[in-house]
Amino acid sequence: MGFKSLNSNQQPNLPFQLDSEKVKLKTSLVTVDNLSVNLGDRAILKGISLQVESGECVAILGASGCGKSTLLKSIIGLVEPDNGCVTVNGVVMGPNSSTSLRRKIGYSVQDGGLFPHLNVLENVVLMAKILKWTKVEISNRVDELIQLTRLQSELLRRYPAQLSGGQRQRVSLIRALFLDPSLILLDEPLGALDPIVRSELQEDLKAIFRSLNKAVLFVTHDLSEATFLSNRLVLMKDGEILQVGQMIDFIRRPSDAFVSKFIYSQKNYFMELIQ
């Protein structure tokens, strides 16, 4: 393929000398180290540590306001940490980090975050055009991704306002995947969808994640979705990680009363699982 891809074991050229303590061994693609973020005098994240390996899919679970989205924003460098740090591919992320680093991360927000003044095609190819990909490269990549995400090609000329919620999510996903990033961050990718569209898209996402074999980090409050899509769950509460592991660990060895409470609150799914 002609487009630029970032090999995960390739160290980018850095314009500065890294503090060796801040850079973990590059075994992990994403390293979140003792990360704290405050908004005014409110602590949003309190000393989060997490590692994500290449090829795994991690679901971040938790109730609204627990800091899930802020964690994603910190990883892509939209939020300045008050303490600790995030490194992606060995590079420290933050609002001052180079935008070229962000281009190696795919990011999709809850409602898709599509630019309303651009049509679908213009939305997804915006960054590639800026990076001066050739027409052929761009059109190949578009074809590839609309197949992968099963988006009808006649939607390419539509504007975001003319799309359904599910279609918008697919477009947003195409945009996130366009530059072939090594890490994909999805904030509530299925948040605002009705159940039928949702389960359809869940299947598709699972297939996509499997076929890409990239690191995926996604935020959800839905336990069944998390279990279905990910290999690892991270449960957060009030800016802290309560437990990391498989569903079975959460049931058998809950680290905190809240873990059980959170699981049992989504009883329907739990019953299904028991059966």
């Binding site: 409602d111 975050g113 630019f115 309303p116 651009l118 961050l185």
Partner: protein
């Protein structure tokens, strides 16, 4: 889809603004050195006095320009000090009370000394008339009751006063008269000044207030009562001029000097009557006056003068709306008007949009920027124009500058709102997919804010079309010129010929922008 070289756009903007500023200054330093510039106020008497000087100088072969209809004494005074005009007719009372109140001047000789020493301004001898506050009584009644002085009024407690509201209210008006002359009349009614003359004529009232050179004095045969206690300030008509005129046009000085003492009280009333009641053009009134005297030097000058008098057609203007449409002048004034609006709007767009973006991007400074633009907006438009005179002189430049400042707020505010109302999810997506600051601004934020910005520009344009009518107060021309002259001459037709095109222009501008919005801003 275009990808803009965003940095270049800003550099071009900057160069453009700088070159605009240079244009302003080069426009500004125009022909004023090669001719004598006479200024006059937007009152008929001042225009006549200006035209008298103009005709006299040009009959003697001197190059002259008349900048008339300048709004306020302050504007003329500052223009004189700046050198935008060389000479203009003023009143001693205005100099003492309004222009130089801080010096507490007492009389003409103190004025003359102060002007010469402090401001480099010279004076000729007063024309000979005074335009004071005065009380008047019909000639008939005055004769019958033997009333010739204000103090005579005390003897007739039943006499009826009809006074203009302004005169009753101001401290140096009726309250002063009552106190000093100890008048205790019970019949005093306030009315519109225009109506007092008619009421006097119909003998509904007996005594009115007036200015001592009003044209109506001669029309209605009014006797002016002598201010025997001397309580009213003295407003003697007088030319004041820049002293450098003596060096630049030494010949002009003795010529203008002849006008000192040449216009009596009755003469000024008569001249005002010719212009205001008989509706003659001021130029012709000036020629009529000059032709009575042989003030001009012997020979060709005077002959020219007489010829000019003959060639000016009678210019009676009645209330005929259709017969005397000044198509050519309306077109000229419309062009001037559009020029003022266009240049000011264009420069405002180039300054206000970056300012609005800056306000939205730097949250700490945003409120201050909007606040300052808001404060400018609250300055009354006329005052803002007057502020511009000391900086830019008179004419197009200060008007454009004032209109420019007026356009800032709507554009800055709408740019700010347009950008700050972009949803956070979209803004974060833009950064998240890797757009840098300028790319995000050019490709996401500006396009998304464009509707709001566009409507800000539309608001500014429509406001400007209206406000530009005031530009004529400081000599910028435009449709306001027709309105000003119309108001001064009490000529409704002329007012309409200025006001209707201005209103139509505002509607057209609005329609043009609405069309542009539908045509170009669709997403």
């Amino acid at each position: 889809m275009k990808i803009y070289g965003s940095k270049n756009i800003y550099i071009y903007n900057f160069i453009f603004i700088i070159s605009l500023i240079f244009c302003f200054f080069s426009l500004h330093s125009d022909a004023s050195n090669s001719s004598i510039v006479m200024g006059s106020k937007k009152i008929t008497e001042s225009v006549i006095l200006g035209d008298i000087g103009i005709k006299l100088l040009s009959a003697n072969g001197l190059p002259v320009i008349h900048r008339q209809e300048l709004g306020l004494s302050q504007i003329l005074w500052r223009s004189l000090l700046r050198g935008d005009i060389d000479i203009y007719p003023e009143y001693t009372g205005t100099l003492i009370k309004e222009l130089l109140p801080e010096y507490n001047l007492k009389n003409l000789s103190e004025i003359q000394i102060k002007l010469r020493q402090k401001f480099g301004v010279g004076t000729f001898d007063p024309f000979g008339f005074v335009n004071n506050f005065a009380l008047g009584i019909s000639e008939e009644l005055g004769e019958k009751l033997k009333i010739s002085k204000i103090s005579d009024l005390k003897k007739y407690p039943n006499i009826r006063f009809g006074l203009s509201h302004d005169f009753i209210d101001r401290n140096d008006g009726w309250p002063l008269v009552q106190r000093r002359y100890q008048l205790n009349h019970s019949s005093v009614i306030g009315m519109e000044h225009e109506l007092t003359y008619r009421a006097l004529n119909e003998k509904v009232i007996d005594v009115i207030d007036l200015y001592s050179t009003d044209a109506e004095i001669s029309l209605y045969k009014i006797r002016i009562l002598e201010d025997d206690l001397g309580i009213f300030p003295n407003y003697q008509g007088i030319y004041i001029y820049r002293l450098d005129l003596e060096r630049r046009f030494p010949r002009a000085i003795p010529i203008l000097m002849q006008l000192g003492g040449s216009i009596s009280q009755q003469e000024m009333v008569h001249l005002n009557r010719r212009a205001k009641v008989d509706r003659l053009d001021e130029k012709q009134v000036a020629l009529e006056f000059l032709s009575q005297y042989s003030m001009t030097p012997r020979g060709s000058g005077f002959d020219n003068l007489v010829k000019m008098t003959d060639s000016v057609p009678g210019n009676f203007t009645g209330w005929n709306f259709i017969g005397k449409l000044k198509t050519a002048e309306i077109w000229l004034r419309t062009q001037e008007h559009l020029y003022l609006v266009f240049i000011s709007l264009l420069s405002s767009i180039f300054v206000a949009i970056p300012l609005g973006v800056f306000a939205a991007k730097v949250p700490r400074l945003g409120p201050s920027i909007l606040g300052i633009a808001g404060i400018i907006q609250t300055i009354p438009s006329l005052a803002l124009l007057v502020f511009m005179v000391p900086i830019f002189g008179i004419g197009t430049v200060p008007s454009v500058a004032a209109l420019f400042l007026y356009s800032l707020l709507p554009i800055v505010r709408n740019t700010y709102t347009g950008i700050s109302s972009i949803p956070e999810s979209i803004s974060e997506s833009a950064s998240g997919i890797g757009l840098n600051f300028w790319q995000k601004l050019a490709m996401v934020e500006m396009p998304m804010a464009s509707k709001s910005i566009f409507s800000g520009v539309k608001t500014a344009a429509v406001i400007n079309v209206g406000t530009a009518t005031l530009g004529s107060m400081i000599g910028a021309g435009g449709l306001g010129q027709l309105i000003l002259v119309g108001v001064r001459k009490d000529d409704l037709s002329m007012i309409l010929q200025g006001a209707v095109p201005a209103a139509v222009l505002a509607i057209l501008v609005q329609a043009l922008f609405d069309w542009g919005e539908r045509r170009f801003l669709t997403y």
